[in-house]
């Protein structure tokens, strides 16, 4: 078996199997950026973009709540069988959870894409710090399966990594040049 190349620069699991898509300033709220990881099998993992306010300025997370209204908790989502029957069907602006930081600021995380909710990450309820430590892997929010014939079109409203980085860099300029 030949030895692997310099892994420090080798692609990670996300690089190898997923495409990163972004939604900037979700619902018009500045910097509330979401990152959607789409697997080559069309499945999507909703995560916080590294620029999301929750992950800034040494904030800590106090709690995460999947109870998005009195009648609906994402924790009650159940899917069964290969066809994932019974999963809640989500649209772009469906809330997934609310994150409360220790400074009492609260943020809502949204689906960003249309699809069937397969699972939410219960591990972050136990260990909210995962959200800060590994926002794009173990600190994921939810897994969503888009409809087969919408697997390409669901990302049309999202930003590619390049486009997102341009937006972020412009923000930096805007902040350094106050009006």
């Amino acid at each position: 078996m030949d030895c692997g190349e310099e892994k420090e620069h080798a692609p990670s699991v996300i690089d190898r199997y997923y495409t990163r898509w972004y939604r900037a300033d979700m619902k018009g709220k500045p910097c509330e950026d979401h990152c959607i990881l789409q697997h080559s099998n069309r499945l999507c993992v909703v995560t916080l973009a590294e620029t999301h306010p929750v992950l800034q300025k040494g904030r800590t997370v106090k709690c995460i709540n999947y109870q998005i209204s009195t009648g609906c908790s994402r924790l009650n989502n159940k899917v069964s069988g290969k066809s994932k029957r019974g999963g809640q069907f989500l649209t772009d602006f469906a809330p997934l959870c609310r994150i409360t930081c220790s400074d009492e600021t609260e943020y809502t995380i949204y689906s960003c894409i249309r699809g069937r909710l397969l699972e939410v990450n219960e591990a972050i309820l136990e260990r909210p710090s995962l959200l800060l430590e590994k926002p794009s892997t173990e600190g994921y929010i939810a897994v969503i399966l888009p409809k087969f014939d919408e697997s390409k079109s669901i990302t049309e409203n999202l930003l590619s990594r390049e486009d997102f980085e341009i937006i972020v860099s412009k923000r930096g300029i805007a902040q350094s040049q106050p009006s």
């Binding site: 030895c3 692997g4 892994k7 069309r42």
Partner: protein, 542 residues
């Protein structure tokens, strides 16, 4: 001499006038002597006519005999049915010729006899007439020869239009009383079936034409003869209204009027109801059945073995996304190509004891596999020939290798899928660690025994498999240090353990995982299957 008795005479008279062929008359007389069907039908007809004339005590007017029985049925049937009032067209044609030549009885008999010889049977629609003659025998033999099958025996199968059952039933009702009068125990089941008579006539001739192969009732090689009769396809449609339960549409059927459904409906329908909807005896058709192409089919042969895969860019089965091929070849295609051409099979179904990813190699003794070969034209091979075939496969590509190749039974194939959960597999993985590690940092892994994992269905397969948490056991592990960021990890696991997910954790969805054990991010760079511990198929010494 035909094995007929006195009580057959009324049956013969009735059926002759109804437009039945000689062999169908034998069937309804429940004659089960095969030789009676094999003699030329013209001869049988003559003998039948002579047999009923005998009884007339010197009155050599068979016309009169049939005429009188003809009148008999009319009065007889009238009670049951109105439709039978309409005489079959053939009879209508006959009558003027009979009356016109009354004075010249001899010539009248001659005309009628000639007519009867050539007319199409109202029951078998020609199947037991011209359609079981020499032309058909040659056609069958040619079809078999053309495909160059190798076989010792064959079974002839016959597919008849479903409406033939309706005609058979109508004819049965026509002579039911007379048949039962023959013997108390005789019933519809005792009437010889068209299929059976056809085979009695054809089997010997086909065997002879093919140079003496055995034509038997059970064989791995089937030669299918099919007839259709479009002219009367609508004949069974009335059954759908009388017995809707029998004709439920299903996905894969072209028509609901299958033979099975028609037979079932005929068992249910009352005689009176049948006679209300269908003429008795059946009407004269204008065309005989149409023979379809002969279908030859050999039962599947199964071949098994073990394969190695030495390439990290070869999928196990063709990889197609959105109708486009992703990789040039596949394990199953590389193995199948030489096998298909050797067995001259039409296609195959590949199955194996699990499967590896496109970038995973399978080393050691390899992975058990089995293939169903569809419609093989050749299937007898010596051990040496199979060994030769294995060598041909191995020479054809250096990406794969096959061993233990052997012909197996369908039943034995299930051994491969048995105990899928219990069997173990061994792997070697090349691991990367984010933090540098020392030799002694990883040795604790060698001491871990029977580690139970909770694996959520990996995200990479979640689109096609149910979401579940599955418990899988890693029986043992060993490490081989390479450098501060790399080591080889050997694993012996329960079948069904996802190794890649154990290493990188799959977003924390496999727990525990190697990242947790080593307290740093880990990733898998290469993976090899070292062994698939299934003892089937049996090893063949090299």
């Amino acid at each position: 001499m035909l094995p007929l008795r006195e009580k057959d005479k009324p049956i013969i008279r009735k059926l002759l006038s109804a437009g039945c062929c000689a062999r169908c008359i034998l069937r309804f007389c429940c004659v089960s002597v095969q030789a009676a069907y094999r003699q030329p039908q013209e001869q049988t007809l003559e003998e039948l006519q002579a047999f009923i004339v005998d009884e007339e005590n010197g009155k050599c007017q068979d016309c009169a005999a049939t005429e009188s029985t003809g009148t008999n049925d009319k009065s007889h049937d009238a009670a049951l049915s109105e439709t039978s009032e309409d005489p079959p067209s053939k009879r209508a044609k006959l009558e003027p010729s009979v009356s016109a030549t009354k004075s010249e009885e001899d010539s009248a008999a001659l005309v009628k006899q000639k007519d009867e010889e050539s007319r199409l049977c109202v029951v078998c629609l020609g199947i037991l007439q011209e359609l079981c003659g020499t032309i058909q025998v040659i056609k069958i033999a040619e079809a078999v020869k053309a495909e160059k099958y190798e076989f010792d025996s064959l079974v002839l199968s016959l597919s008849l239009p479903a409406q033939l059952c309706v005609r058979e039933h109508s004819c049965w009702l026509h002579v039911k009383e007379e048949v039962r009068a023959k013997g108390l125990v005789l019933d519809k089941d005792d009437v010889i079936q068209v299929k059976e008579a056809f085979k009695w006539i054809m089997q010997g001739q086909v065997a002879k034409e093919l140079g003496g192969v055995a034509v038997v009732t059970k064989s791995a090689f089937e030669v299918g003869v099919e007839f259709t009769h479009p002219e009367t396809d609508t004949d069974c449609h009335f059954l759908a209204t009388t017995c809707p339960d029998c004709f439920k549409p299903t996905k894969n059927k072209q028509s609901v009027f299958t033979r099975m459904a028609v037979v079932k409906a005929l068992e249910k329908i009352s005689d009176a109801r049948f006679l209300k909807h269908y003429p008795c005896p059946p009407t004269q058709p204008t065309s005989s059945c149409t023979p379809q192409d002969i279908q030859c089919l050999h039962v599947s042969v199964f071949i098994a073995g073990r394969y190695n895969k030495f390439c990290r860019s070869l999928p196990q089965t063709p990889w197609v996304i959105d109708g486009e091929r992703r990789m040039e070849s596949s394990v199953e295609e590389l193995i199948a190509a030489p096998i298909l051409s050797t067995f001259r099979a039409d296609g195959f179904n590949f199955s194996s004891s699990g499967r590896e990813d496109v970038d995973v190699r399978t080393l050691g003794n390899g992975r058990p596999f089995a293939m169903e070969l569809l419609n093989p034209h050749r299937c007898r091979f010596s051990t040496a020939e199979i060994k030769q075939l294995q060598e041909t496969i191995n020479k054809s590509s250096d990406k794969i290798r096959v061993r233990d190749l052997q012909i197996v039974t369908r039943e034995a194939m299930s051994r491969m899928k048995e105990g899928e959960e219990e069997k173990t597999k061994s792997y070697t993985a090349l691991i990367w660690t984010q933090k540098p590690v020392q030799r002694e940092d990883i040795t604790f892994i060698d001491d871990i025994k029977d580690l139970t994992l909770d694996q959520k269905t990996p995200l990479r397969v979640l689109h096609r498999r149910a979401l579940a948490v599955r418990q899988r056991v890693i029986h043992s592990m060993n490490t081989r240090y390479v450098d501060p960021h790399h080591f080889y990890l050997g694993l012996k696991t329960q079948a069904g353990t996802y190794i890649k997910e154990f290493v990188h954790g799959d977003f924390g969805r496999t727990k525990p995982n190697l990242c947790q054990l080593l307290k740093t991010d880990t990733d898998i760079l290469e993976l090899d299957v070292e062994s698939v511990d299934v003892d089937w198929p049996p090893a063949i010494p090299e």
